[in-house]
């Protein structure tokens, strides 16, 4: 099983590609986001909030698969972050993720970023 590898960093720069993302915490995921790996993602989101970081960009550029459990985790993250003071969630989606969001009618539920991802 390929796990969802997560990398977290605080974006402070306001370069052209990431201007909209300034000041946000970025979680970068790789591999399938599925029933097997979604718990790790959920834990990372909770952890970010516990550390006072409720403004999150989830970088899904390297995600290779998304099932209903992965999608539910994204929807839960959105709900959870929006419930925090000043909380927000932005997705940086690749074509695999975009297709899944469109197919399920959930794309309108998310704020999407189309930046460079650097």
């Amino acid at each position: 099983m390929s796990a969802v590898a997560t990398e977290e960093r605080q974006d402070r720069q306001t370069s052209e590609g990431s201007q909209a993302l300034g000041g946000l915490t970025r979680l970068r995921l790789a591999g399938p986001l599925t029933a097997a790996t979604a718990p790790q993602f959920r834990a990372r989101v909770r952890d970010a909030v516990d550390r006072g970081r409720a403004r999150v960009v989830v970088d899904l550029q390297a995600v290779t698969g998304l099932d209903a459990a992965g999608l539910a985790a994204l929807l839960d993250a959105r709900r959870f972050l929006h419930a925090q003071a000043g909380g927000t969630l932005v997705l940086r989606a690749n074509p695999i993720v975009c297709r899944a969001l469109k197919e399920t009618g959930t794309i309108a539920a998310f704020a999407l970023s189309h930046g460079s991802g650097t």
Binding site: D67, A68, A109
Partner: protein, 227 residues
């Protein structure tokens, strides 16, 4: 019992007489069975299951049908399942006494925003039937659907002659909601499809009721209710 998301195959049970889970991630665990994620190696089992005429007649699974007839048993089917945002398919493993998976249970046509999905439970090993494996597997994935996916309603369709499945659904608190007249065809004649449904509070009621699992009752009526 609560649906859990566990990480790592090491979390699988290995009591005396059982085999360790060598693969997959255990998603939920009951007394008789546990559910784990699908692995590419499971396609080998599926290849045998899809050629079983008994399963075809009793379940008529679109999942198995698709693997055989649409994907021609191609390995890419695994990736397709993994990339399907409208389903979660899990392999049913007996906690003890079996050397290979006993079936598949899945939630499909999942509508996360609306909170409903369809349930399909397939016990593939004849020797594993009438042991409560299917009942428990369906229960576990129902809890998973409610606790993890946020679902509030599940539906299931059963051929009118599949009394075992209808009784299993009733044991799990499903109610018959209707009949699709002559909606199924087995190659010889048309059959009614019986529709069952369960709501979140009813699933919760089953969970409260099942503090201890009841032994199986072999005679639980016969067939469908009048609707």
């Amino acid at each position: 019992m609560k649906a859990v998301e566990e990480r790592g195959a090491a979390a699988a049970p290995s009591p005396s007489g059982s085999r360790p889970a060598e693969q997959g991630v255990v998603i939920s665990r009951g007394l008789r069975v546990y559910l784990r994620t699908m692995m590419p190696q499971d396609l080998e089992h599926m290849s045998a299951w899809v050629d079983d005429p008994f399963l075809e007649r009793m379940v008529g699974s679109e999942f198995l049908h698709s693997y055989k007839h649409v994907w021609d048993k191609a390995p890419a089917f695994y990736d397709a399942v993994l990339n399907d945002p409208t389903q979660v398919a899990l392999v049913i493993e007996a906690c003890r006494g079996w050397t290979k998976p006993v079936g598949v249970v899945r939630l499909f046509n999942i509508h996360l925003l609306e909170g409903y999905a369809f349930l399909e439970t397939i016990i593939t090993d004849m020797r594993a039937m009438k042991r409560g494996f299917g009942i428990e597997a369906a229960k576990l994935i129902a809890y998973y659907g409610m606790d993890v996916l946020g679902l509030r309603r599940l539906e299931a369709k059963v051929y009118e002659y599949n009394v075992l499945s209808m009784n299993s659904l009733r044991r799990n608190g499903f109610r018959q909601e209707g009949v699709l007249r002559q909606a199924g065809y087995d190659g010889e004649r048309y059959w009614d499809l019986v529709i069952f449904g369960i709501l979140k509070d009813e699933i919760e009621a089953v969970r409260r009721r099942d503090k201890v699992y009841l032994p199986l009752d072999p005679s639980e009526g016969n067939g469908r209710e009048s609707s």
